[in-house]
């Protein structure tokens, strides 16, 4: 079978490629992190008997623990971060966290029936991983699952979610564009803070009447 000897380097390369495709510890860790996040979210947030205040408390704890809140907040403020004063930055981060809680707390409740399946984890560099997931929606006519990517960063102690990308749309980048638009319209970071205060108050009020 001399004539097939030319295949040896090809096979060797393929073997290497397969080896390279096997998950690294960083990727394995990110997958585990995400599946535990999904489990914890469902467990602590979707009990029907749970009072809303308790869900809010648990969600805040989960959000602070598993998401890079300050990192995301700073990123979503975009170039205004540099213009903001120290007091404004501090208040912004609090308001940003409140907005995220108010935005997603009820979404979790509504989407409780959706199943998340981890497809794969791919390292972006030596401390960031993208975890690919498919989420099936129980009430949609289209049975094709929604493609959701989780950008996860690892530091010395733990993994944190840096961004969530739904069908190619980054949630953080979208918020950054939205906040930027408000800053341009109101002319200042203070204007954005005022809008954030109004929005979170409105969402809280709406949740209480429901």
């Amino acid at each position: 079978m001399r004539m097939f000897r030319f295949l040896i380097p090809v096979v060797a390369t393929l073997a290497l490629a397969v080896q390279a495709a096997a998950a690294t510890p960083l990727e394995d860790g990110a997958e585990k992190f995400l599946s535990s996040l999904a489990d914890d979210a469902i467990q602590s947030l979707t009990g029907p008997e749970k009072a809303r205040e308790d869900r809010v408390k648990e969600f805040r704890r989960l959000f602070q623990d598993r998401f890079a809140v300050q990192f995301i907040g700073q990123w979503t403020l975009g170039r205004s971060w540099r213009q903001a004063s120290e007091t404004e930055r501090k208040e912004y981060l609090v308001l940003f966290e409140n907005l995220m809680i108010a935005t997603y707390i009820d979404r979790f409740q509504n989407y409780a029936g959706e199943a998340l399946k981890i497809v794969k984890a791919v390292a972006d560099d030596d401390n960031r991983v993208t975890v690919h997931t498919d989420i099936t929606r129980p009430n949609a006519a289209d049975t094709k699952p929604v493609r959701v990517l989780w950008r996860v960063g690892k530091n010395e102690t733990s993994y944190k979610v840096l961004d969530v990308v739904v069908e190619g749309a980054s949630m953080s980048y979208t918020l950054q564009q939205e906040f930027g638009s408000i800053v341009r319209q109101t002319g200042s970071v203070a204007g954005l803070l005022e809008e954030l205060r109004k929005k979170t108050a409105a969402l809280e009020a709406a949740a209480k009447t429901n």
Binding site: A68, V69, Q70, F71, Q74, W75, L77, G78, R79, W81, R82, L99, A102, T103, R107, N110, D124, N127, R128, T130, N139, A140, A141, D142, T143, K144, R147, L149, R151, G153, N155, E156, T157, K160, L162, D163, V165, E167, G168, A169, S170, Y173, T174, Q176, Q177, E178, F179, G180, S181, I182, Q185, L192, E195, L196, K199, L203, A206
Partner: protein, 280 residues
Amino acid sequence: MKNRTCDGWAALGRGLAAAGAVASVLMLGACASLPPAGDKAAEAEYAEINDPLEPANRTIFAVNRALDDAVLKPVARAYRDGVPRWVRARIDDALDNLRAPIVFLNDVLQGEGTRALTTLTRFVVNSTAGLGGLNDIAADLGLEKHREDFGQTLAVWGFGEGPYLMLPLFGPSNPRDAIGRAVDFLVDPFNRWAVNSNREEAAISRAAVAGVHLRAEILDVTDDLEKTSLDFYAAVRSLYRQRRADDIGNGKSGARLSSGAETYPEWPRGDGSNEVSGKP
């Protein structure tokens, strides 16, 4: 009005608007303010937003939303809540199958041989074994559907998107995608058959069903977004752009995040804090 200027696209928009009295009223003085000259960051931001007709677009968006609230949303809600999921899934499959010829043509025009073959096989299998397209049997066989349109084909051919455009009734778009939409509609075999055999109502009914069906599918998402966003217009604009970029890359480009360090800052190493290093 010194700081308000329109670029060439805006001039084109005005030219087109002259065709309709209502539209031209909307266009009057309706250009986004230019960034202060010399402010590099502001200029980069203006280019990234790429919405020189923003005031006119916002007006059209407001009209679209009013129509949506008054007509489309209630119909879509009744359809979603009144029609069982199984039936909606059959309608979903049928609409996809009717669209398959256009998807196939655009696969071919983009030189995507494998995807073209997938679409063709899907069309044959689903039109026959799938009982006239009512069942997506092909997906069960591992031939997943995908979307293509002429706007994406133009993008693959190297045409830029042009400025953001809010179309009356049709919603978020840009010159490239608006042209693509018109071409797809005119080339579509079903629509051609309908028009050639004096059955325009068939093409119109299909468009109406597709519109209500699509609206119903995204109802939860848009309701949430309307409720929680600070600037719904800006959120829709950004989401539209990102989704289109993802469609054009066939979902493989990952996210735009990996491409631009400016929008995806470095994750700090080692020190265990959440502090962002460098500029945001």
